[in-house]
């Protein structure tokens, strides 16, 4: 994608939250959030456990609706009906009794790939980049947390999404591996205009990456700005 095209897409709002609140019984998970997310940006959502990060991501994924306020999703804001968001879940949602490769094949969509061969080639390329190519034949139940997270990340990227919504995608990884994952996502962001929404409770890691950051505290949005200024 050309730079001028990228700049153009960056102006486009793909998610818009207007005075959004989410309440679970007595607990206010999100309180009066106003937020716009633009196409092609990298957004980090930080906050302590229970701050409302997962609830916010679930709103953006369209899995829940707000108790109050209005959420506009890409299908409402863009003319592109095929806009596709893919997720990396906090609990990963891999099938334990299948191998990593079998799990990755869940992303093989005939509408997106010309052939199975193209898919396999892309899968191998991504697995090599994540450093897991020699271990994808293992059953998920026999793998460690870090490998599982990488498989979940590769699965999400293999679906060739327009937007990646990742909930604590690297919490089991060390800094080096976090860096590697971020570099790959940055490359996708730069080359393919992928919008990345990444939640993390680890501010120290996030501040070393480039992108916009929003910080949640007790369901309230308390900070928004560039990650390096945190």
């Amino acid at each position: 994608m050309l730079q001028k095209d990228l700049n153009k897409t960056h102006d486009q709002t793909i998610f818009s939250l207007e005075d959004v609140s989410v309440r679970y019984g007595d607990i206010m998970a999100l309180d009066c959030i106003n937020l716009n997310i633009y196409r092609g940006e990298i957004l980090f959502i930080t906050g302590a456990s229970g701050a409302g990060k997962t609830t916010l991501l679930r709103l953006l994924a369209g899995s829940i609706t707000p108790t109050k306020g209005r959420v506009l999703l890409p299908k409402d804001l863009t003319k592109n009906r095929n806009f596709f968001s893919s997720q990396v879940f906090q609990d990963l949602r891999l099938i334990n009794n299948q191998t990593g490769e079998q799990n990755l094949f869940k992303s093989f969509d005939g509408k997106v790939y010309d052939s199975k061969k193209t898919f396999i080639s892309e899968m191998k390329e991504l697995c090599r980049a994540f450093g897991i190519l020699d271990r994808i034949h293992l059953k998920i139940s026999d793998t460690n947390g870090g490998l599982k997270q990488k498989i979940a990340m590769v699965r999400a990227l293999l679906s060739r999404p327009d937007c990646l919504i990742a909930d604590e995608p690297t919490c089991s990884l060390d800094y080096e591996n976090n860096r590697k994952v971020f570099d790959i996502l940055s490359l996708y962001n730069l080359k393919k205009g992928l919008t990345v929404i990444w939640s993390s409770h680890n501010k120290e890691i996030v501040r070393k990456f480039s992108g916009r950051i929003i910080h949640l505290d007790n369901g309230k949005l308390v900070y928004t700005g560039h990650a390096c200024f945190i």
Partner: protein, 261 residues
């Protein structure tokens, strides 16, 4: 094709649940789609079930007993008319005469043909009487001796069950299979839901669960209906009703997808 492939893939991956669901679906269609044939086979397992009241008749051997037998069998309400062993009948007759200390001369010639006539189980008394009179007319009043009508003992448990199968079997079996089918569907559906959830999350497809189940069931339905086509007594109305039942249950059993770990 994608959805049919997924249906069989899920069935293969969850062989027990998948096999149970397929077995119940196919049996449901094949049994109710051939109900008359199946009912007959079930009732034949207990041959006494169809038997009604019976009586014996002694006919003079000078009469054409084969013609009488043929004419009786062709009557509605007659299950069977069996000619008894001639020697046995004559021995029995002789024994009775001896018991009464009568001389053979007084009884005339002892040369009878024995006939056991069995009514259908549902024939009423008026029908029985008409048949008995018809038999007297056929043989001639002076050439026949008819015994009293013997009624079968009170119905036992198997007979009661057979009565249910005979009268309301279609609906009883239909309800049972309907219940089992819904139960097996719900068990199998959990696996379909799980696979569909992942497909919807990572592929550009919607309503995957419904499409997988619907395409798989449609295929099984038409294959089973094809088998019914080969059967002697296909009952297409039943097959059609099952199709409606499958569709209605599928449409109303939809729910929100969620990850089932």
């Amino acid at each position: 094709m994608f959805y049919i492939k997924q249906f069989f893939k899920i069935t293969k991956e969850n062989s027990l649940k998948g096999f149970l669901f397929l077995l119940i679906s196919i049996s449901f269609i094949l049994i109710l789609g051939n109900w008359s044939f199946v009912k007959e086979k079930i009732l034949n397992l207990y041959p006494d079930y169809m038997k009604g009241p019976s009586f014996y008749a002694l006919i003079s051997s000078s009469e054409d007993h084969l013609s009488i037998q043929r004419k009786l069998i062709s009557l509605p309400g007659i299950l069977s008319a069996r000619i008894l062993d001639k020697d046995l009948v004559n021995k029995q007759a002789e024994k009775i005469i001896n018991n009464y200390q009568l001389k053979n001369d007084e009884m005339g010639t002892l040369d009878f043909i024995g006939l056991e006539v069995m009514f259908d189980k549902n024939i009423n008394e008026r029908g029985q009487e008409l048949i008995r009179n018809y038999l007297i007319k056929l043989a001639g009043e002076n050439n026949i001796t008819i015994g009293k009508t013997n009624y079968l003992p009170e119905a036992d448990n198997i007979k009661v069950l057979m009565d249910y199968i005979n009268d309301d079997g279609f609906w009883i079996i239909g309800l049972l299979f309907g219940g089992f089918w819904i139960f097996s569907l719900m068990i199998f559906k959990k696996e379909v839901k799980k696979a569909s959830y992942l497909i919807e999350q990572f592929q550009r497809k919607r309503q995957v669960e419904f499409k997988i189940l619907f395409s798989g069931i449609i295929l099984v339905y038409f294959l089973s209906a094809g088998l019914i086509f080969l059967s002697p007594t296909p009952e297409w109305v039943s097959v059609f009703l099952i199709g409606i039942f499958f569709s209605v249950v599928l449409i109303f059993s939809g729910g929100k997808h969620s990850w089932l770990s």
